[in-house]
Symmetry: C2
Subunit: 240 residues, 2 copies
């Protein structure tokens, strides 16, 4: 499935890519190690520098190495953020029509429903404290729409951190990045901020009281409210 079905993609650079990918994966090129100089690879593998360059570039695009302009390529320490980073372009294209945005937003709802339920059932005292802090910061920013936007993200971010799974914060960052375009177009004013803040408060309350169903309901209502506003903007520019 992942294998690109290269039945006959006899690109010389591909075998180089595969070679280094192999070595990175099996650990003989650990994170932080540098690849040989291009001219060394040329001699060692008997290919032209063109091929080497293409291979290096491909590895860099795959997110396996980091090729700074005038330095040797360095094997990158993989993070869950880099994983979501390399898909950026494709995602952008998927978000071109409104149904793509809708699908992604639905995914977010699904995800956060789970997060608030999890929080209501398992949040530690420390988690609650962080959540409360984020909520307070959000409440203090109602009059300042820019800061409200930031603290809004911050509040949700805490939810993603509670399960202690490093994949989740990366997903959160990806969501906010990918959807930020539509987010910014959303009308922002203190009255709406007030509504959103109250929704946050209800979610927090439900988590505090250990009521997963209420937390889920509050979250769903909250995100539905947000979606309705994004949706208006979308329909204006894209009728599909």
């Amino acid at each position: 499935m992942t294998k690109v079905s290269n039945v006959k993609s006899t690109r010389a650079s591909d075998v180089l890519v595969e070679y280094f990918e192999q070595r990175i994966l099996d650990g003989s090129l650990p994170a932080g190690a540098t690849l040989p100089a291009e001219r060394e690879i040329v001699q060692e593998h008997g290919v032209s520098r063109t091929v080497v360059r293409e291979a290096v570039l491909a590895l860099a695009n795959k997110g396996l190495i980091k090729a700074q302009p005038r330095f040797r390529p360095v094997v990158v320490k993989p993070g869950y953020d880099t994983a979501l980073d390399v898909v950026g372009s494709v995602v952008s294209q998927l978000l071109r029509d409104s149904s793509g945005v809708r699908n992604l937003f639905d995914m977010r709802i699904m995800m956060e429903v789970n997060l608030v339920r999890h929080a209501a059932l398992n949040a530690s005292g420390e988690d609650i404290a962080k959540l409360e802090e984020a909520l307070a910061a959000n409440g203090a920013a109602i009059e300042d729409s820019v800061r409200f936007y930031e603290t809004d993200i911050g509040f949700h971010k805490v939810l993603y951190e509670i399960p202690k799974n490093p994949i989740l914060p990366a997903i959160h960052a990806a969501y906010t990045d990918w959807l930020s375009v539509h987010w910014r177009q959303m009308p922002r004013m203190p009255s709406r901020n007030q509504v959103n803040f109250e929704a946050h408060t209800r979610i927090f309350d439900a988590i505090l009281r250990r009521q997963p169903d209420q937390a889920e309901a509050a979250l769903r209502e909250h995100l539905k409210f947000a979606w309705d506003q994004v949706s208006e903007e979308l329909d204006g520019q894209d009728g599909r």
Copy 2:
């Protein structure tokens, strides 16, 4: 965030990549269209062919175009599967240590918990029928471990299809692909198959009876059982 923060990566190919990425995104290069010949791009943009090639290759690696070895590059119709395809390499590296596998598996649990709850609350008659069919196929394959593996995947796949969000089946495919390595190492025998089939049955029953909490509990137990087996294998080869 997505922008690779190259403050000064004055790579000439980058501006070309950006140019074509722009044109693909704004639709002036629709899916299926072919890029101009390399030499045309050379003349039009006043850069060397080296740069053009690097740009084309980069676009191909990003999954925006499909560059078959000796054919004109074609703008690709993006699917949610291609999005998850380009991350393959990074994910492989993330799964090198057991904690990476654990994190991904936890994500899967989280996801499927949501799916079974959703199914219990919203599954249509048609959905139920498909689920029942998949369950029956699974039950008929208990003696044949290979077929059981396939029908096992098939049963879970139906769960991902119920919400009608095209992102979900893509995620399911990615999960099974990425985790298949560890899955195959799992000991397979009719007795274990029997346990798994009964778990599937319990999940199905709970969905049928519209009991989200029971469905969630059954799923959690099911996946915990699966994880314990994978975990044993992992600990054997990787102590981290």
